[in-house]
Structures are given as structure tokens and as C-alpha cells.
Symmetry: D2
Subunit: 349 residues, 4 copies
């Protein structure tokens, strides 16, 4: 029996990606796509890749009853509509930050407070490679954010293997695509201004640190740069692990391979890429654009271990992650609807 | 019973795309991928998107027996190896120009002659939307070239409807991606030189004209520009049709919609995009990158009718077209293995 | 004695380019840069390349008295403020379309009418390579638009040499950068949507045709495509000249060289690029980005002559052209302040 | 009296940039441009921006006598030709790494040894903002490398102010353009492979560390990523300074402004950009493309101070730096020939 799904905020980038994934999903039937701005327009009017989809945007005030409601609205919206969503759906899969953090206090510190803190306990953070606990029964699933996802995937194996300790120094230097800014736009995201940049826009104190601290118990330094691509988030994590056992403290490459394989060998969406030959020797966004894959890698350098991760921010950093979490929430095959392959050659994704 | 397939010249761009398509094809089993240069390397060594594929390049001198052999080698190679290919496979699907034209004389005029002209009669040109004749029994299938494909898809409906006559004036102005140059590279295709160009590189007298003349009986003017993208071929055909029935000779938009719908309504890989609202009002490569779709459109302007077509040159202009033709040659469902959806948002594909 | 200049609408792209040119001009002293939106901000706040300039935007309601007032406002604004401008300056150099056409009727047909038609006679169209007549005494100079400039530079020599007749068939196929849309932006110009396109946005009936018809007496077909670059306008003009003297009507390359040299040999801002070897064999925008140069070229193809031109739309298509015209209007050395050299290597300009 | 100059290796990217700078330099007369590969071709054949330059490449075996010889050849060449160069010129300005390091041992460790170690003592490292000592009389000037230049400009003020100690933790994360790879090309630099990347290619142990250690006495961790642009090098230096005087160890923004102003206020080629409003709030390569400027900035984050620098790698990271050093070596005005202004708007430089 097919499960039904709806997408709220379906005219945005993550919303459109959900439409793409759900319309091709073997187990979900896409029933509704809402958008205030484009009510009654075909979904193809906004998403040209979905012109063959026979579906029109509808008013979010009239939500159909579905098994799974995917909310792809800007931060602050889901928390205001959560009761309406839970009335319409068995499970709410939220792509915003509204249910990612564990306490009202965290929202007071990092965001503008929370309007429905009572629901925070019912929410389960979703970065499945980190933990699948609680996803199977979740009423509210909070898909992890793109920068946090890339960063945590890069670091997790070092922590799990005890090589990196929570008190060790970690600097995450991120390079992200323009779709991270959402469909809203603004002066800085107009093509003449945004094209070809290497632009630090969050030099310090980024909200994604909150997620990472809660999930990994790790405090880290974060700097985000906008670069020339539409999709993609690449994390370079400079770590100074003190948990290695070698006499001189340095960690060798074989030990790193061990740690990363232990962490990810069984993971369907993680691909280890670390050294070797050819052109593509370390993780990069081009290689995974359009897919739910994360490339993860590492390099040893004396006291430093550099850990890399590259994802498609609209997929593994957002919509793909949400569908992955939904597969787990509904007891489906984990990779259902997420078997897309990347492209080669491909340009600036 | 599964059909078997092999790809010769599998380390190039079209070859890699064939590996992507065939490895996911429900009816074909990919048995061999050859490459002299990368013999014994995993296919993922060259094509990072295919790292999960458990397959190594092998020596093209040792071809396995298969049902379908896809040749993705540079022009001039297939004609030299055709006997070896036909010994190994029931059907040869060639992606080069070696079997596209109908006569040895044509190769003397447009290329450097032909070394196996006896096989030209056995070859069937493959642009299915133009004609499916002869594909079902073909021994040799010659997949149409990317620039010719885009151009002919744009023009066919005008010819079929009798609006455009073979003697009418037609100018095809093309904009293409860097992958058209193949994986070989050269000074002009290095990133610092090729990046950001609008560069006429075939101002006149392009080989694709030969294909078009043979297939459509139409003589036309052709100019090709390299532009900033890796995948994509966009044709803008400026036509001055004299077959319209209106008193003043002009052709009106409803008549054009009629012609294009008649030609393509039933075609699974053609999407009509002509005017309307929103951002994506006419055919463009971004909307179809990674898919086998062609967007086709038109605009009326007094005596002139502008016909547009946009494809992914590695897909509908090459590998996708080859697999489509193979589906027809083997009596499979036409869209088998070719149901990929495009992306939105997406950058320079 | 130094001449004084001001720029109205100085926070936009053409306005900022005027600031760059005038601040480095040996004969002009930049006295004022106006912007309603950024009043009191430093010019470097909007134009990061001009951070060293000690100047703040001021209120356009308080115009200083200057010799030359450059208006870089959107279409429709100058015609509404022309009296105020002429009260403040001896000479108005307008970058918009407001004074380019010759009659009120033309504005009724192509634009939304004209609010100060009495001033049209006092205005002189400025594409110096076309004609310098009337520029020396002009009260109002109307700098030619970018698409029209590129197109006319490509065609002029053919007309002058009598090879192309006004009734001959001409199709202009243009490829332009995102800065053509101005600094205002909009959904279609946000980076995720605008990046990597080959997008026809003016398939037919473009306003630039009006300018070309008036200036060259030539009726032509026009199609404009947005492509991936910020600066640049490239015109490919497909012409079918009937004025050649050869028996078969075809025009040979030596005859074309003659025509183009006659037209441009003495022109400081036109560079002929037609064939030859190396990577850069025909006009392209990258080669002239940041300069006031136009590359112009051609190729013969039987009945067809393809004429190319490439400019930087913010320079020769706008601000550079305006300064060139001002140099002529004030009897200065023609190339004053316009001696910038392009870059190599360079990316997507 | 004009000084004479020549450029050896003039067909490469840095060589071409030197031609651009020297041909417009008020004090230098460009006498010769050598290239084995393009001997007798006009310089414009390779560098389209220099088509107006009346100069042909000549054989490097026949060097003219000049005051200044600029060597823009790959690493390893100058050291082999140094005697020939010093016979032809009073001053050798070398753009390669061949004379940057102080000892033969350093070359044994970081490069492939040195073939003319006797000349190392006569060489003066040239990053003028770091030190002008020894440049005035230099026989051999070794222009600093691009990645080292960007990194050192970012860090110098922190060291000078005693905020950062040589033993403190520093991680430099670089993002660079494709021209860094030189004109030679290779598989990884072909447009289809290099386009749109965020590709770590030097995860650790980069040669530029050697220069930085020698110049600043600072040991640091280095990771370099190729990103989508042709020109540009952007350094993000994550530092953990322990030299601050505050009780809690943190360094506040006013203290940073002090340090950076002290270091750079009088420097003609350094522009401080740190916070503020608008779109361009931190250093970025687009803002300085084509100029000899470096944008430098910083942000305080508790224990961490992030220091940024952005340059054009072909200018301040290579040719511009060389000309700046030559101005100092010959006692000319420091900014002679280096007064170019950047562009806005501009794309991927």
C-alpha cells in the first residue's frame, strides 16, 4: 500500500527537490505541493525540470491528509504551523532549523527564540549516518542542515575512533553554493554580484555550530565562504587530534583508513575518497551533484588531520536527507528513491 | 533474458555516459568497458560518479561477445575496427560520425575519406524523432551528432507541416559546451582559455551540415560558438519559411503550435517550451542537463520563424541517443534506462 | 583647465563604470555621484573596486553645476529630468535610450512614449565609429545601446562598401552578460537561476532594432540570448549580401578585408580579428573585458557573410561609449581616459 | 632616461601579464619577449589583449642587453640560466621559486635540489609589504609566490603586533584560480574537468610553507583548493593567538584594527576590508582582479582570529609583485605602472 506525501513550501529550491524525489519514489505517492506565491500554477512553471509532472501548487491553508508531510519553508515557519502540520500528517519531516536543536534555550541563543518549544522533545534530529535512533517512530523529523551535515560526516569517524577528543582544536572551513541562500534572492545573490566569488559571508559564529555541538558534543570554529557554484557544500576540517596512540602523537594514514571504514563501510550514501591517483583524489561537490551521496576523505599531516566532506546541499544537505529520514521513519528500504547517479563530465553544478 | 552490452572507448566523455546509462539500464547487462590508456584501472578512476561500479577498463583488442557493442571512440576509429566489432556483437551502435553519412563521396567531401565504405549501406542513421525506419533490424546504428540533433529537432516540424521548404533560407546559430571537444583537450580547452567564452570556432562550413542535408534534404548555414558550460548544445534556427498559407506570408503562433504538436506530442523525449511566463520560457540546456530530453520551441516574427532546441550534448546528442536507438534496435521499451529527471536549481551544467 | 563632470544614477553598473573612468580621466574632474538609495554612503560601499575614491553619493535633487553630466539612470528617467540636467550642465551625456531615437512616434512604437519629445532634435546619437557628426557641439548626447553597438559595428563596413544592401537579409544573433539586466535584479537574475544559461529572452522584436533601423537604414531580425558571463555582448550577424560584384554573387575574404580595413583601420577602438591561428581567431568578449575596444571580424561562406563583433557591454556598450562621446563633445583627445588594456588569462568576465 | 626591460618565458600567463604591465609602464621600455614555442609569432597571437603591441617573440638564446630581465619561466629554469641572465641584465627579477628560499638545503627538502646554489645569497626575496630591505641594490630579486603572498599579508600584522606568536597554531585554507597551474595544462586543468570545482589538490605539505617559514619564522598548516575562477588566490587563516593582553586571552576587534592599520595604512597596495555593510564586507578576489591590490581583513571569534587576504595571483601573486619589486630595485616611484583599477560588476575573474 502506497504511502502518501505532501510538500509545503514546494516552490523553493529544497521544495522543488522534494517534488523531484517524491515523484520518482517507488513507495510514496506525491499528493500535494503547496505555495502561496504560485497557487494554481503548474509545478513546472517554477521548476522547469518537472514540466512533465501533472501537478499544480495549492494553498497551504488547505492541507490534505497524508502519511508524510515535508515542510520546506524558511526558518521560523514550521514552528508556527506545527499543529496544523501534525493534524494533516502522521509524520512531519521538517527541512528547516525549527526542530533541530534540543531546547528552547538553544533557540534563544542562536535564533530568534521558539514559538512552539513544547514540540522540541517530540522531534528527532536526522543525519542517519550519525544516528538512526528514534527515527523509526518519529512524529517530527528535523533534517540536519547542509553545512552541519558536511562537517559532521567529516569528523564523526575521528571522534568514534577516539582519535579526536571533544576538547581538541577543530576548524571547519566551508565553501558553499548559491542555492544555500534559498530562492528569495537579494542584492548579494544577483548574478552580477554573486558570480565568481570567493566570499566569506559567515566568518565566525555560525548557527550550524549549534547543531554540531549538540550532536557531536564538540565545540568548533566555523567559517563559511560563498564560491562559484549553485549546488554544493564542501567542508575542510582542520583537526589537531590528541587521542592517537603513537609515541609522537601523530596519526598515520592506515589508522585513518581504519577509522573511516569502520564508520562508513556499511553506509549506502557515503563514499570514501582519500588520495589515490587521477584527477579526482579528494571529496568534491561536482562528483555528487544531484545525488544523495557524500564524499568523505582525509589526509594526515603530522599533528594535523585534515578531514574533507562534499555533498550536494540541496540533496544530502536538505531534500535527500529528508527523504532518507522518511524512508527510515516509515520502515522502507533506506535507499528508496535515492539511487540517482552523478554526472561526469559536469560543470559548475 | 538480459541482453549484454559493451562500451569501447569507455574512458572518454560519451563512453563514461554510456557506462552510467547501461549500468542502470533494466534490460542491458554491462559486460565490458575498454580503454587502451586506462587498461586495468577501475572505471571510477576516470569517472568519479561511477566509483560504486565494480568494473575495470580492459584492452579493446579482446572484445567479449555481446548483443550490443557501443563504440564511443573518436571519428575514424570505428570505420577501421568495424569488422572486429561486428564479429563481437550482433549490433554495433556507433557514436562517431563514421557511419552517419550515406556515401563514400560524402566522406571524401566532409571528412578524410572512409576506410570501410562497404558498410555504409548497412548503417542506419539514428535520430529516432526524425525516423524510426530501419532501426529495428539494424546491424550498424549511427547515432546522430549533437549539433545536428539539436538543429534537426528544431526544424523538422516546420518541414513536416510544409511551412518551411527545402529551398528556404535557414541559419543555425549554435552555442555548445566544452565537452563537445572530447576528453583529449588541447590549448583552447584548458580552463584558463576556455572559461567564460563566447567564441565562434566553426563560423562556417561545419561537418554537421552534411548530416542535416542528408537527413532533411535541407541546405543551411551553420555557425557554432563555444560558450561557458560543460554539457549542452543550444540551437537557434532563424528560418524564413515560404510555405505558409496566410495572405501576407507570415506564419502565426497557433499554426506553429499545431506543427510542433503534430510532430512531437507523442514523443517521450521532446518537451515543447515556447513562451509562457516565469523564468524558463524557451528551451535551454540547464533544464535538460543529465537527461535524454530535448526542449524545443519557436517564436513568430513576421517573415521569420525562430526555432529553438536545447539538449545535453552528452545525452540526447550522444550517449542517450545511442541507448534510445539501442532500445529500438532490440525491441525494448523506448524509454528504458532513460528516465532521468533534470535538476533545479542547477548551475552551469 | 580641467572640465568638471557628474554622474547621476551612480550606484548602478553603468554609473559605477563611469565613476571608474572619470576618476582616472586626465581631463575631467569628477565632482558628484548621485544616488537616492545610497545617499551619503561612500561610492566604495557599492563599488568595491572604488574604495580608494574619496567620494560619497549625494541626492540627485541637488545637482552641482558641471561641464558634463552623465546620466546612468534606467530608461524613462532622463526624459523626465532633462530640464534639471541641462540647467546643471553644459552637456548632458545620457546612457539610457531616452534620446537615442529621432522622433516621438518611434518612442510610441518601441517604448512607452516620450515625456520630453521637444528635446529629441537637440540630441545626437553617439556611436562614434558610425558617425562623429554633431557630437562636437552636442547639448545632449545619447550613447548607443550595447546590443545595437555590437551589431552595427559588425555590419557597417558591409554597408559602406556596398556589399550589403539595406534590403538584404540580416539576422543578428546576440549573446549577452547578466549586467545587461542592470543592478535591479529580479527572479531571473538571481544566481541560481541565471548561472550557466543559454537562454533566449528576447526571441524577436527587440527595441535595439529601432536604433539600428534609424542609424543604418537597415531592417533586420534580432534574437538575444543570456549566457554565462557578467560583462559582454557578442553579436553574430548572418548576412546575405547581394551587392558583391563577382559573377556568382559570392563575396571573397580579400574583399571583406578591404571593406573592414577601410571602415576601421583608423579607428582607435576597433580591432579586426578574422581567422588566423591560435586560440583567439574571432571576436570574443573575454579579450576586451574592461576596455573600450570592440573586436570585429567576419567569415565568408558562399552566399552568406558572417560578421562578428564583441564588446564589453558596460564599456563600449555603455559607459566607455559615453566617455568617448564626451571626449568628442569637448574636443579632447579621443582616447583620453579610455586606454585600459584587457586581461589574459581571464575567466568569465 | 628610460630603463630597458625584457621578459623571458613571455608566452605563459605571468609572462603575458608582465608584457601588459611593462608595455604600459612609464619608466620601462619593453625591448624583448622570448618564447621558444612561439618564436617569431606576434605576442598578440598568444595574448589577445596585447594585439596592439608591435612585438614578436624571440629566441631566449639571444638575449638583449637590458637593465631589467624578468624571468617568467617554470621552476627549475632560472637556476639553470642565471649566468646567462645576469650577463644580459643588471638586475634579474625572477618569478619562479628558484631564488626564493635561503639555502640549498631548503631546496633539497622542498624541491628537487638547486643547480646554482652559489647565487642564493645574492638573491633578495620580494614581498615589499613584508620588507623592502635589500631590494634597492638587488642583483637577483625573487618575487614571492601567490599563495605565500596572500597568507603572509593576512598574518603579518598579527605577528608584528605581538598578538600572534611564532609558536601559535595557524591553519591557512586557500582557494585558488586555474591560472595557478600555468599555461601548460594537463588532464586536471581541461575545462570539463576543472570547471566548477571545489577541489583540494594540496591537502598538506605545500611548498609555499617553506617560503612562509623562512620569511615569518612561523610554522603553519596549509591546504589549497582549486575553485572556479581563472585569476585569484584567497587565503583564510585560522589563528589562535596567545599574545593578547586581555584577561581572558581573547582579542577584540579594535585591537585588530590597530594592528592592521599600523601594518598597512601607508601601503599603497593593501586595502583593509573587515566587516561593515553592503555586499562586499570581507576580502575577495573579484574586487582586485587585474590589479596589484591585496584586500586584507579579519574577524574576531573568541580564542580565534580569522585573517583573510585576497589577491589576483597573476598580479600581486606574480607579475605585479615583480614589477613592484623592480620599481624598488631601480628607485622608481613604487606604484609606477601599477595603478590599474578593478572592475565592478565583474564575473568569475
Amino acid at each position: 500500500m502506497t504511502l502518501t506525501a505532501s510538500v509545503v513550501g514546494a516552490s523553493g529550491f529544497a521544495g522543488g527537490e522534494l517534488l523531484r524525489l517524491l515523484s520518482g519514489h517507488p513507495e510514496f505517492e506525491l499528493r500535494q505541493a503547496t505555495s502561496r506565491e504560485y497557487e494554481n500554477r503548474t509545478v513546472g512553471y517554477v521548476h522547469p525540470n518537472l514540466r512533465e509532472l501533472d501537478l499544480r501548487f495549492s494553498d497551504p491553508a488547505d492541507l490534505e491528509s497524508v502519511d508524510a508531510l515535508f515542510a520546506a519553508t524558511p526558518h521560523g515557519v514550521s514552528m508556527g504551523n506545527v499543529e496544523q502540520y501534525l493534524a494533516a500528517a502522521d509524520t512531519l519531516i521538517d527541512l528547516s532549523a525549527d526542530f533541530r536543536l534540543g531546547s528552547e534555550a538553544a533557540y534563544d541563543e542562536w535564533y530568534d527564540g521558539h514559538t512552539a518549544p513544547a514540540y522540541l522533545d517530540a522531534a528527532t534530529y536526522a543525519l542517519p549516518e550519525l544516528s538512526r535512533d528514534g527515527l523509526a517512530d518519529a512524529d517530527i523529523v528535523a533534517a540536519g542542515g547542509c553545512n552541519a551535515t558536511a562537517t559532521m560526516l567529516a569528523l564523526k569517524p575521528l571522534l568514534d575512533a577516539g582519535l579526536l577528543r571533544p576538547s581538541d582544536q577543530v576548524v571547519a572551513d566551508l565553501k558553499v553554493g548559491s542555492s544555500e541562500g534559498g530562492a528569495g534572492g537579494g542584492a548579494a545573490s544577483s548574478h552580477p554580484e554573486r558570480s565568481g566569488v570567493v566570499r566569506p559571508y559567515a566568518p565566525t559564529g555560525h548557527r550550524h555550530e549549534a547543531e554540531i555541538e549538540e550532536q557531536l558534543g564538540l565545540s568548533l570554529s566555523f567559517t563559511v565562504h560563498a564560491v562559484e557554484m549553485v549546488r554544493g557544500a564542501a567542508a575542510t576540517c582542520h583537526t589537531f587530534p590528541t587521542g592517537g596512540t603513537a609515541a609522537d602523537g601523530g596519526i598515520e594514514t592506515p589508522e585513518l583508513w581504519s577509522a573511516y571504514r569502520d564508520a562508513y563501510e556499511a553506509e549506502p550514501f557515503v563514499r570514501l575518497v582519500a588520495g589515490g591517483g587521477g584527477v579526482y583524489r579528494y571529496p568534491e561537490p561536482k562528483a555528487v551533484a544531484g545525488t544523495n551521496l557524500a564524499e568523505v576523505g582525509f589526509a594526515a599531516d603530522g599533528e594535523r588531520v585534515v578531514a574533507f566532506a562534499a555533498i550536494d546541499n540541496v540533496m544530502k544537505g536538505s531534500a535527500g536527507q529528508a527523504v532518507h529520514a522518511a524512508n527510515l521513519a516509515f520502515g522502507l528500504e533506506e535507499t528508496a528513491g535515492l539511487t540517482q547517479t552523478g554526472l561526469h563530465p559536469v560543470g559548475s553544478p
